[in-house]
Amino acid sequence: MAEVSLQGVTKTFGGETALDNVTMTVPDGSFVVLLGPTGAGKTTTLRMVSGLDKPDAGKVMIGGIDMAGLTPAQRDVTMVFQQYSLYPHLTVRQNLEFPLKSPILRTPQNVINQKVGEVAEILQISHKLDNKATALSGGEMQRVSIGRALVRQPSVYLMDEPLSSLDAKLRSDLRVELKNIQANSGATLLYVTHDQIEAMTMATHVGVLDHGQLTQFGTPREIYENPVSVYAASRLGQPRMNILPAHLFGDAPAGARDVGLRPEHIVQGEGEDSTVTRVERLGDQTRLHLVYKDHVIITVTDAHTELSGGDIVKIRPNNPYYFDADGARVA
């Protein structure tokens, strides 16, 4: 268990800046999710911490110790990759045991058995323990590769989109499980994803990355309810925030160019007339696509609404966010 801290970490590949002066502290025992689209620098950050890549400038500290010059093995971290890599000639059980059989650890066999059994149960692969690793589906192989990280107790777990190749049901089970494992063991976990549901449901803290810069770091609730920029606001929330000209609904604070309205922050039945263009039924909720003064606005409404295309709905903003021309929050 350890705190991880990055101080002014910068990394370029050729002419491309992958990380630009990133400073961030992952508190001991926290579950930090790095969120951003492809190319934001999420995976590069993980690789800096693991020691698979070296920063051009800045420092990586784990548990207060500067990691400069230390190899991945010396750092006591374990990493789960997006692309699973298993030993194809070994069974699932042997793959899971492998990290514990390291000569440095000298784990007794009964402890190994117990640990492997527990992890297999959590990951729902107990019935496949004696299968060859190659005789598994993609989702099962990925679970074994997560399992191989979980049998150890490193100071820090690093995970790079470990759930993205699994189907929806398993993904939602494993979200809860990973969160429980982390919370109960008190492990520090740094996790990369572009899936906002994973970020919101599992993280104690979310780091929003944009082109190699850390733009916001806070609890999921802080980022959802109090985003610092259009970019951060757009990362969380489905459907995403509506970004509209600041003066569309009347007065706006000085310097504001855009107003951001989350779909649930549009009151229906009061205010100005808008036209329904499409009604999208998702089961538990229905999305309304509205047009107001030539702008498309998406909001959510009761699942069984009787509205249909062409109807008029009155709308009024509630709790709007204002952003300046650079996308920074002004109010």
Binding site: D167, H194, G283, D284
Partner: protein, 365 residues
């Protein structure tokens, strides 16, 4: 544009039955989703409609004409695959015009047609660009253009957005749906993503193990699933199941388990034995005064709402509640279920019992 009807279609691959006796109708101009997990037979069904596989038995009608044994080239349909295959040595415009030129359409006419299509897809400015430098989205648009340009009777799409990342998929699915609304072409679309199916489809067929589980309008299927499989596959999180043992007479309006009594929509079927009480997470309310109890085991924040997992005597239950409600792991509380929305399933067969609430939906299709 066309109506498509399939009647008792079956497909065997050796000893394995991929599709067992499917029957459904796709109306002219519909955006129709074939939904199910991998291996359920949805792609095989689509390939049979397209003429890329021949059915073992059964009939396929396009506009009233039986085409089951006709090759794909004689069915006048266009297919868009998950992996868009474009000609790498041709530019965007030539990729789109290829199907026209190969049919012998004069160049001038083909060019006019291509520019119309490019306009619809918003790719006019890249018509002269080589395929090599295009983004994933533009490639997908070109692949669509090549399908649309022939004015086929129907479009068949096999997970066309499957390879894209979440944010971009959302954007492309809106674009596809808007395109469909402009052109009104019959579209059959295969996906394993229930949200995509709900969001885009006019109708959905849910398949599992080669069997059509349910067929109908997305909201109806969501509200009144015909089987436990459909109830679990559609919705995120899926419908909650509380297993209990009991006897239900026809015209029953209550069930009893775990010391509590629950109102249900009036039943039409009776049942005896293992039963399952099904309720969607948004219809579960936490209320300390309720008799039926549970302990909170997980809280997942989702912005406006949060998902609360509770352990009860009949299994775990998820509730979707406002994120402003303060709920802590370890708390014990009561649960209330919205009685108007409850489905009761036969625990053995997985089929729902007919009630006054769901009979209309179940009679469909």
């Amino acid at each position: 544009m066309a109506q498509i009807h399939i009647e008792k279609v079956r497909k065997d691959f050796g000893a394995f039955t991929a599709v067992q006796s499917s029957t459904f109708t796709i109306e002219d101009g519909e955006f129709f989703m074939l939904l199910g997990p991998s291996g359920c037979g949805k792609t095989t069904t689509l390939r049979m409609m397209a003429g890329l596989e021949l059915p073992t038995s059964g009939e396929i009608y396009i506009d009233g004409e039986e085409v089951g044994m006709k090759p794909a080239s004689q069915r006048d349909i266009a297919f868009v695959f998950q992996m868009f295959a474009l000609y790498p040595h041709l530019n965007v415009g030539k990729n789109i015009s290829y199907p026209l030129i190969s049919q012998g359409m004069p160049k001038v006419q083909a060019k006019k047609k291509v520019s119309e299509i490019a306009e619809i897809l918003g790719i006019t400015d890249i018509l002269n660009r080589p395929i090599g430098g295009l983004s994933g989205g533009d490639r997908q648009r070109v692949a669509l253009g090549r399908a649309i340009v022939r004015d086929p009777k129907a479009f068949f799409m096999d997970e066309p957005l499957g390879a894209l990342d979440a944010e971009f998929r959302e954007h492309m699915s809106e674009e596809l749906r808007a395109l469909h609304n402009r052109m009104n072409a019959t579209t059959v679309y295969v996906t394993h993503d229930q949200l995509e199916a709900m969001q885009m489809g006019d109708k959905i067929v849910v398949m599992n193990h080669g069997v059509v589980e349910q067929f109908g309008v997305p909201q109806d299927i969501y509200d009144w699933p015909a089987t436990k499989f459909v109830a679990q596959f559609i919705g995120s999180p899926p419908m909650n199941f509380l297993d209990f043992h009991g006897m239900l007479a026809p015209s029953e309006i209550k069930v009893r388990f775990g010391e509590a009594e629950f109102d249900i929509p009036k039943t039409l079927d009776g049942a005896n034995g293992n039963l399952t009480f099904g309720v969607r997470p948004e219809h579960v309310k936490l209320d300390d005064s309720a008799k039926y109890r549970g302990e909170v085991s997980a809280v997942e924040y989702l912005g406006t709402t949060q998902i609360i997992t509770l352990e009860t005597a009949n299994g775990s239950v998820k509730a979707r509640v406002a994120s402003s409600d303060n709920v802590q792991v370890g708390e014990r509380t009561g649960l209330k279920f919205d009685s108007r929305t409850v489905s009761i399933f036969n625990g053995e067969t997985g089929h729902v019992l007919r009630s006054e609430a769901n009979q209309e939906v179940l009679n469909y299709g």
